[in-house]
Amino acid sequence: MKKLLYSIALMMVTVFSSVLLTACGDPEPTKLEIVETSIETTTLVNQTHDLSGLKVVVTYDNGDTKTVDKNNDMTITPINVNQLGEQTLTVKYLGLTASLKVKVVSNESDLYKILGFDKPTFQTDWEFARLQHSDNAATTKFDESELTFANRTQSYKVGDENPFVYLPIITAVDDEGNDVEFGEGTNYTSKVKVELKEGSTYTELTGTALTNMVAVDNTKSSFDFEQAAVNKTFKITVEPENNPYEVAPLSIEVEVVDGWNAHTVADLSRIDNNAKAVDDWAEYKAANGITQNAQDGIVLHGNMVLSVNDIPKSYVYNYDANGANVDGATAENNGSLKVKKSIYCRDTQSPFAIYGNYFTVDASHLPLTKEFGSEDFGHTYIFAFGGDDNEYPGTKQKAGKVESLYMIGNASKDDSEDLKGGINGIISSSENLVIDNCISRAFLTHVNTVDAIASTTNPEVNYAVKTTIKNSHMYDSYSMMVFAWGDVEVEVDTCEFKRAGGPTIMATQVVERHNTVENDPTTEVVDEIRSGNVVIKNTVTESYLAGTEGWFDLTPGAAQAVESITALSGGLAQFSTALQAASLPVTPKQLTTNDGGLQKLNLISLLLSNADNPVASSYGLTGEITIKDGEEVKCFNDPQDKMASIFEAVPQLKAMPFLEATGTDIMGEPLSAIIAFNGSTFQVLKNGALVDASADVANELAAFFSADYVNLYMNGTGLSATLQMYPVEIPQQ
């Protein structure tokens, strides 16, 4: 009985197991792959191809994978190591076959793989700089659209004065992943194609057609364009010679211009041809192998960050505790930048251009000026066209151009008095400087234009000076964006200026005078008065000022002026509101707007005299500032003519602040409406007399309060400001 029961149990186990096994089944292998990194895929000829580490990956029909080491169940068909070239190694296992390409090479240098053949850093930086960024200031504290160039479609410029290098970043590793040096200085050779672009057609250049345009160095992947190539566009394509690695070729399209290709910061020193700075730059240029200056221009091929080591040592105070310190270096000014030592000074006896290619010149790491001599602020510029701020040019300065450049300074809008020693952007006494499609940030003053005047030593140097700033953006300044000194013409077109620490634009009337008896101001004689003309067209200007910014603390009378204007604004708001309540056709307006919870001015421009106390100047005020929207004049500030005629008719205006709305009225006719504050109320100028506000002057009042801008005259003397007017803000109920 026991035996019978045992037999039945055994039968049941057997049957059950059979059923179980039959129902589940083994997964079927469906795919076989050789793990590429388990063996060398490149091997030297006549050497053993080691397969001991070979692994395969088996994929099953249930999706599972399994890695299997080399074993005796595999049938391997090896390559022939005595035969050069690419061969196929095969493995058969579990009824499946896998294959892998293996290359047999004759040189050890071929025992690696190029993993990366990437665009040079300058090319990706250039592509990034041309992106359009969106305004996200609502969610961050910074508007990223300020990083966007106005024109992002300009071609990539290369110069013809020295070779342009287009060498990709090559990353090569051996089978163990170790880096292998590959590129310039190794046995690398570029295979190059140069095509001439005409319209939308590309024609490959070969033979003399190629050499007439460019000399190519394949080992350095460099391109030395000839004069014949200037103003033409080419497409350059490079890849490794023979390219057994099958990396994709890289291309760049370039437009050739007259200029030196600047690949490093040291190359920027080629801009400086100032005869008085030759000795200053000599040591630096010699140390960096700079033997010639740029002739017609400089073309940037990368972002340039300036440090104190990139400028002449003599431009910085270097205090020696044990030395004579003949240049005035002290422990206090040690390491600071000397005043009026502009960095790159170009004497433009022939035209000169700076092609930024959207790259950046970053001067934020340069030291501040601490020793000012007779100056109030730092007077060092990154670029000086036509001499520098030290003196007027000795010869006529020809045309200059700065294009598609991003510049960064070290003087943000701030309270700190230290930043008055910050660096400035560009100064020019060129007959025609054009700044086009540039962005600049954090300069003491971004652009300064200085007139050229004849002197006894240079009687011929008396020519018209003009600066045109177009399609450019300036942000963040300790003082101002644009400064015009003397008899110059400045045109600003389609620009954006935000966050100046003082007036956005300032134009100074220069009064040249001398005392007939030395040190006796009562014998003063005015030799000459010079002023200029500034036109601001289609430009956003937003610099909201409280009058407590650093520039105001350092500029005599400025802070007090802002206080007066703020008080006047409050009065104007009340005045215009009362007029509207009295059913006069007036939009209540004021001179301030809410910025960060405080009422601030948008001080668009300032005309003033260079006399010691501009608010009380007795020299009168000349110069013109015009604001346009398209061709419509929105504001015209011409104090000289204004004062002459108005003060003659209403002499009491000399003693009171008054506001003038100019521009164009709704009928398209020139507009001029004046309101003055007589100490107790506002009055309107009509028919040569000041009258109280009433229905009789409704047209004048309506015209005044329809304007977007007003010119403010302070006590009829040496200062005239253009401010934006804002609708009175009605408090939320």
């Binding site: 792959e33 793990v35 590429e36 990194t37 990956v57 994978t65 890695t67 793989k113 993993l115 990366g116 990437d118 665009k119 850093t121 990706t124 930086d125 592509e127 990034f128 960024h133 996200n136 969610t139 961050t140 504290k141 910074f142 990223e144 300020e146 990083l147 970043i169 990353t171 590793v173 992943g177 880096d179 994709a248 972002n303 950046t360 934020s364 991003y406 960064i408 943000s412 809008k413 701030d414 309270d415 940030r441 954090a442 942000y475 909201y544 409280a546 407590t548 206080e563 703020t566 008080a567 409050g570 009065g571 009340q574 910025d595 960060g596 405080l598 601030k600 107790s680 109320t681 506002f682």
Partner: protein, 152 residues
């Protein structure tokens, strides 16, 4: 408007400045921009090469399904910005940029030249290759940190 009102406005304005000045509390009525001066990649496996370049290198793992390979061959870049009191902070402060010809944000858009899928700071290699990623400051300071990621 009465003269007394204007005078009162002026007095209050001036008095506030006096009070602030007397107590040494000069009120800063605007925000000064504190720019980024440095970005540093903080990945544990980042190495600084002798030429100054920063590199992250790893062996491409072929095993698994495509989704598993993508996961295994992914790197998340981390970084630190300096100084600590920059106006722009967090992920708004820095943007990761790579050659658009080599990356996609959606795997469905891949082509033969695509090396990786990139989403924010997560880089997922689709095959062995090299991706040069630039971490760029977005506050106008033009600071950048270049990291070369090599999957071999």
């Amino acid at each position: 408007m009465k003269k007394s009102v204007i005078v009162l406005i002026g007095i209050i304005y001036l008095a506030s400045i006096f009070v602030v000045g007397f107590f040494g509390m000069k009120v800063k009525v605007y925000d000064t921009m504190v720019y980024i001066t440095d970005i540093e990649c903080t990945n544990e496996d980042v190495r600084k090469e002798t030429n100054g370049n920063k590199t992250i290198k790893f062996k491409y793992d072929y095993e698994g399904t495509e989704d598993e390979r993508i996961l295994k061959n992914s790197k998340i870049l981390t970084y630190e910005i300096f100084p600590k009191n920059t106006t722009l902070k967090g992920k708004d402060a820095v943007m990761a940029y790579a050659d658009p010809d080599k990356v996609v944000s959606d795997i469905a858009d891949r082509n033969d030249n695509t090396v990786a899928v990139v989403n924010d700071l997560t880089i997922s290699f689709l095959k062995p290759g090299v991706l040069i990623v630039t971490l760029k400051s977005m506050d106008g300071s033009n600071i950048s940190e270049v990291v070369k990621i090599i999957a071999y």
